[in-house]
Symmetry: C2
Subunit: 222 residues, 2 copies
């Protein structure tokens, strides 16, 4: 069933930069392309916007379809609209980025493990289309947002230690942080609270466990 217009229309997709932090490294989810163009190359998860769904809803749906992840923090990043982004037809991509916590790492069971993988940013392969550019911009936005909001907490599992949290901030934003100053800072923001439990691991003093006061909520600082 063909669809006909009096003027040419572009196709519109969403592409999603899914970030997580694992083993002291910021990682991005990539999918190996199964068809042309760029067959076999790594690309961002994403897909075409359906005619009756909002662009936001498309991003949510694609994220779930390709990764099985639901209820994840998702924010629009930027729209990429160069006419030759895609060789098949004119495609405009609305890019989003998502942050998933350490614990929700299970990828969609349906997908072959070889076709979806977490890559450390900084060691990325050449990506399909202009997806390299998209990742670069997403990374810049994320590091900027780490400085003036509490997005960093979204990478954390339900409960965590302040040392874990400090480690996360250091790996994502690069910058090392002083232990005492970091703790003063994060506690003064009034966004985490003690769970009352301790995490005993290894031959040393056990650490207090914390949780977000309002899970999923992002606070803008200053």
């Amino acid at each position: 069933m063909p669809y006909t217009y009096t003027h040419p229309h572009p196709a519109v997709t969403t592409d999603i930069v899914v970030f997580t932090v694992e083993t002291q490294a910021l990682k991005v989810l990539l999918i190996r392309r199964k068809g042309p163009p760029h067959e076999g190359q790594w690309a961002l998860p994403g897909g075409f916007v359906r005619i009756d769904e909002s662009v936001d809803a498309c991003a949510v749906r694609e994220l779930e379809e390709e990764t099985g992840l639901k209820g994840i923090y998702l924010e629009q990043l930027y729209t990429f609209g160069d006419p030759d982004r895609d060789t098949r037809e004119r495609v405009i991509s609305v890019a989003y980025y998502a942050l998933v916590p350490l614990q929700g790492l299970e990828l969609r069971s349906g997908t072959d493990a070889a076709d979806a993988a977490w890559w450390t940013v900084g060691g990325l392969p050449v990506l399909a289309f202009d997806h390299g550019r998209i990742v670069t911009m997403a990374r810049a936005r994320l590091t900027a947002k780490m400085e003036y909001s509490t997005v960093g907490l979204l990478f954390m599992p339900d409960s965590f230690t302040l040392s874990d949290l400090q480690g996360l901030y250091e790996t994502v934003s690069g910058r090392p942080r002083d232990k005492r100053n970091f703790r003063k800072w994060i506690l003064s923001l009034d966004v985490v609270e003690e769970t009352g439990e301790r995490k005993a691991e290894g031959a040393h003093r056990p650490a207090m466990l914390y949780r977000m006061k309002t899970p999923g909520n992002v606070k803008i600082i200053k």
Copy 2:
């Protein structure tokens, strides 16, 4: 000549929030719609993305076509993609915002004066489509950016006094500023320089004129 696709495609437009500052007020350029839908209502300037031009280029072109303004600061704002934004067909809008200096206020000679006008933000009429939402977001972005960059300078004519500049900052970001502190601050940023000329107007001490060191350049602060 019809254009046919195997899947339905949305139309894509750009809409532009053009800001200026005039007589102590932040203003937005609005155009009265000449055809349905929302005929006669006020709306943002903008139009459909052509199939062979980039989305950025479309914004530049529309800005020039509808206002005659060229070489203006223009930045992508956000993409609005709700399925029922437009009653005619599915339309996704990539919104931009632009800042024009006081001196370049001449609107396109072709346009009837009654059909294009500067409106003070805060006193806007009900706008067509979701353009009200777009303006709100643009305003938020602008005030935020005033705090951590030198975008404010883009509203200034080629030469200006520091008092003028302070007045501009006060009207755009609301917040009043201390005269001495403002001058210390702006001078420490190293973005303006004295022209050597003075502006004598009225029965009082003439003010030193300044200009941007690198016109059109926006510096990120801190």
